[in-house]
């Protein structure tokens, strides 16, 4: 269990950094999907597997919806972004990781003494990285991904506090609704993007 939770934590850190640093929707949605796997693993430590798998399914549905919308809208490649901004975001992410490592033990002791430190660290990590992502982006789909990560972080922590079917059900609705909003935003932006030139057009 300890190994699983540690592994999940590492996956969360890597995926959160990937979402923060890179702006390519393929990487972002892929990392989000992997993130939900880690979330599922952590939630399963507190909840029955049957309830925990709902988180995974909903998370993957949300990731898939966003990925498909981006694919359909042919979101432009952002590889032209300067390396300076990548490095900057990476450094900010590192700073946030260090901060969370410093704060997590106190938070766990004061607020969540019943929870395992790894769970608290993971949840706070997701929340913190999502907030940094929110603060450094003005793009709609990245905002949605940040919020999904944020809510995932909260769910990791809250799962260890109480088990409620209604709460789980409402969180499903919220997550899916958020994903739908993301799809809506992406299609709005996509209507403005120039149509890609057909290769080999006559």
């Amino acid at each position: 269990m300890m190994l699983l939770s540690t592994l999940a934590f590492i996956v969360i850190v890597i995926s959160a950094m990937a979402i923060l640093v890179f702006r390519d929707w393929r990487i972002n949605t892929g990392a989000l999907g992997i993130q939900y796997l880690a979330v599922f693993a952590l939630v399963a430590l507190s909840w029955p597997v049957g309830m925990s798998v709902i988180k995974l399914i909903v998370g993957w549905m949300a990731s898939a919806a966003i990925a498909l919308s981006c694919l359909r809208q042919n979101k432009p490649d952002t590889s032209s972004e300067s390396s300076a901004s990548l490095i900057f975001r990476g450094l900010v992410g590192l700073l946030m990781i260090i901060l969370i490592f410093l704060l997590a033990p106190d938070l766990q002791a004061n607020f969540f003494p019943r929870l395992d430190l790894v769970i608290v660290q993971s949840g706070i990590m997701l929340i913190g990285m999502a907030l940094v992502q929110l603060g450094t982006t003005s793009s709609a789909y990245l905002t949605i991904i940040s919020l999904l990560s944020f809510l995932a972080g909260f769910e990791v922590i809250h799962a260890g506090l109480e088990l409620s079917t209604l709460l789980a059900g409402l969180m499903v609705i919220v997550n899916l609704a958020l994903a739908l909003v993301g799809v809506y935003f992406i299609s709005m932006e996509g209507e403005l993007a120039p149509a890609p030139e057909e290769e080999g057009a006559e």
């Binding site: 929110l134 603060g135 003005s138």
Partner: protein
């Protein structure tokens, strides 16, 4: 219900005239309706003197637990009866004297408007609670705003209308704050029991609307508001504010404000002096009317500050009635000039004249330098009145035959009211007053007339020639003084503060709403938490 009878008569008459004018315009019929209604209203008001004090509750919110407190009521007592008599007299005088101005600005639409304004004015004067007064002020301000904006005017003129409206609304807000403070101190109260803690704000409200405290004259040029109904439009709001002054408690100045009393008196005295000088230098009485109002309102306000609010009644009546006698005297008829001397008598302040009781207000806190400034201002006002009286008039032939009877009757009505108020207006109205102050003022006036004659200026035109040194100096000095006293520099300063604040807050907005805004917000949040937890943790 008798309190509502004059109001009802005037409003019904106004509506009748309005409808008549739309359906079948008839000058004579409309005039007759207006004259009859205002005459009956005037008589009823006279009769009401025998029923003082009387009140009429209209509405009470009556929330259990006093969660919301509010009452609408009317009150007619010795503080308000003089003013309702003055206002109905002015209205009657306007209607009657308009018979002589058929070629100028008298018309049924104007009468209809005038009667409505008078009706609201009567309600405002008889307001028993601050809520009633605020409501009526709001309605009448709105009506006046709409009326003035509809006149063809320039952008500059429009701005002055808005500023004037803003100042009046500021007065209402001052009253609102005063009401809240008063209720906090002593629960629900009416205008006869204004708590001391709230009284200064009430006085500020009245002073703002009178344009005297602080001095503000945003609206001086009145191209369309000349004689007749223009007089009602200018004086009806003034009457309501004067009534409020009379209702203020004698102990208005709390110990905290007492050190400021000389300053307040000084500002009022300077305002009175300035207004008196402008009154004299105005080309005609209509141009001088705003200054006339300020010059008489200043000593009324000073009386309140000095702890003698009832003395303000005398100054207020001097503002309204003798002033109207002059303002409505157009066209001038040589044979009728003598009527103005009755007005002059009402202004002199000699023993047993209407203004005699007003002197008490200026010296209630002892005789001081400011009292003498007020006396000088008073003398200048009398002198200016004399200047107008001495101007020659035309022949009665310029009037229609029926107007030759009705026109002087309109002016006589004012004189009658002045006499009545001097005799039985309020307890203490018929008094010798402070004879030596009146004597000083009279001597100053006589001295001024002699001095002016020494310069070779004789009646009927007591004006310095336009090429004289004195006039040239005044032409340079007065505009400078006007800039100071008109408080435009206050508005400009306020606007600069507004512009500076705008820059700061727009920058903050741009930061918080910009791309990094969320991070800034989170930073502020963290700082806030640190401050709170740091404060708790020590």
């Amino acid at each position: 219900m008798l309190l509502l009878l004059p109001v009802g008569l005037l409003l019904i008459a106004s509506l009748t005239i309005f409808i008549l004018d739309k359906l079948q315009p008839r000058f004579g019929t409309s005039w007759l309706v207006a004259a009859v209604a205002s005459s009956i209203a005037w008589v009823v008001v006279l009769f009401l003197r025998l029923r003082l004090p009387t009140s009429l509750p209209i509405l009470s919110w009556g929330f259990p637990g006093d969660y919301l407190v509010g009452r609408l009521s009317l009150l007619l007592d010795y503080d308000s009866w003089p003013y309702i008599l003055a206002l109905t007299t002015i209205t009657l005088a306007v209607i009657l004297s308009d018979a002589a101005r058929t070629r100028y600005d008298s018309n049924p639409q104007a009468w209809s408007a005038g009667l409505v304004i008078t009706g609201f004015g009567l309600l405002a004067i008889q307001s028993g609670t601050s809520l009633t007064l605020m409501l009526i002020w709001i309605i009448s301000d709105l009506l006046e705003l709409v009326y003035l904006l509809r006149l063809k005017s320039s952008a500059q003129h429009n701005l002055r209308i808005i500023i004037s409206y803003g100042v009046r609304t500021a007065a209402i807000l001052s009253l609102m704050l005063g009401t809240s403070i008063g209720r906090q101190v002593s629960g629900d109260f009416d205008l006869t029991g204004i708590p001391q803690q709230a009284a200064f704000l009430f006085m500020l409200a009245a002073g703002l609307r009178l344009g005297v405290f602080p001095l503000n004259l945003p609206f001086l040029k009145e191209p369309e508001l000349r004689r007749g109904v223009g007089n009602i439009i200018r004086l009806a709001p003034v009457a309501a504010s004067l009534t409020l002054l009379a209702r203020l408690p004698a102990n208005l100045i709390s110990p905290a404000l007492e050190p400021w009393l000389p300053l307040f008196n000084g500002l009022l005295a300077l305002a009175a002096l300035y207004a008196a000088v402008r009154w004299i230098s105005a080309t005609d009485e209509i141009e001088g009317r705003p200054f006339w109002i300020v010059a008489w309102a200043a000593p009324a306000t000073a009386s309140v500050l000095n702890g003698a609010p009832q003395a303000s009644l005398a100054w207020g009546i001097a503002l309204l009635l003798p002033g109207s006698l002059l303002f409505l005297y157009y066209p001038r008829i040589q044979r009728m000039n003598f009527l103005q001397y009755f007005g002059l008598l009402g202004l002199m302040g000699l023993p047993f004249t209407p203004l005699a009781s007003g002197w008490f207000g200026l010296v209630a806190n002892g005789v001081n330098f400011w009292s003498f400034l007020f006396v000088i201002a008073h003398a200048l006002m009398i002198f200016g009145f004399l200047i107008r009286i001495f101007e020659p008039g035309g022949q009665p032939g310029i009037l229609e035959s029926w107007a030759r009877l009705v026109y002087p009757l309109g002016l006589i009505v004012i004189i009658q009211a002045l006499v009545a108020l001097g005799l039985v207006g309020w307890p203490g109205s018929f008094t010798p007053g402070i004879w030596w102050l009146a004597l000083i003022s009279t001597l100053l006036v006589i001295g001024a007339v002699i001095l002016v004659q020494r310069f070779g200026i004789n009646p009927p035109y007591l004006h310095f020639p336009s090429n004289s040194k004195f006039v040239k100096v005044m032409e340079r000095v007065l505009p400078l003084l006007e800039k100071v006293f008109r408080l435009e520099w206050v508005y400009r300063l306020g606007w600069q503060i507004h512009a500076s604040l705008s820059k700061v807050f727009r920058t903050i907005s741009a930061i918080l709403e910009g791309e990094g805004g969320l991070l800034w917000t989170l930073l502020l949040l963290v700082l806030l938490i640190l401050v709170i937890t740091g404060g708790n943790g020590g």
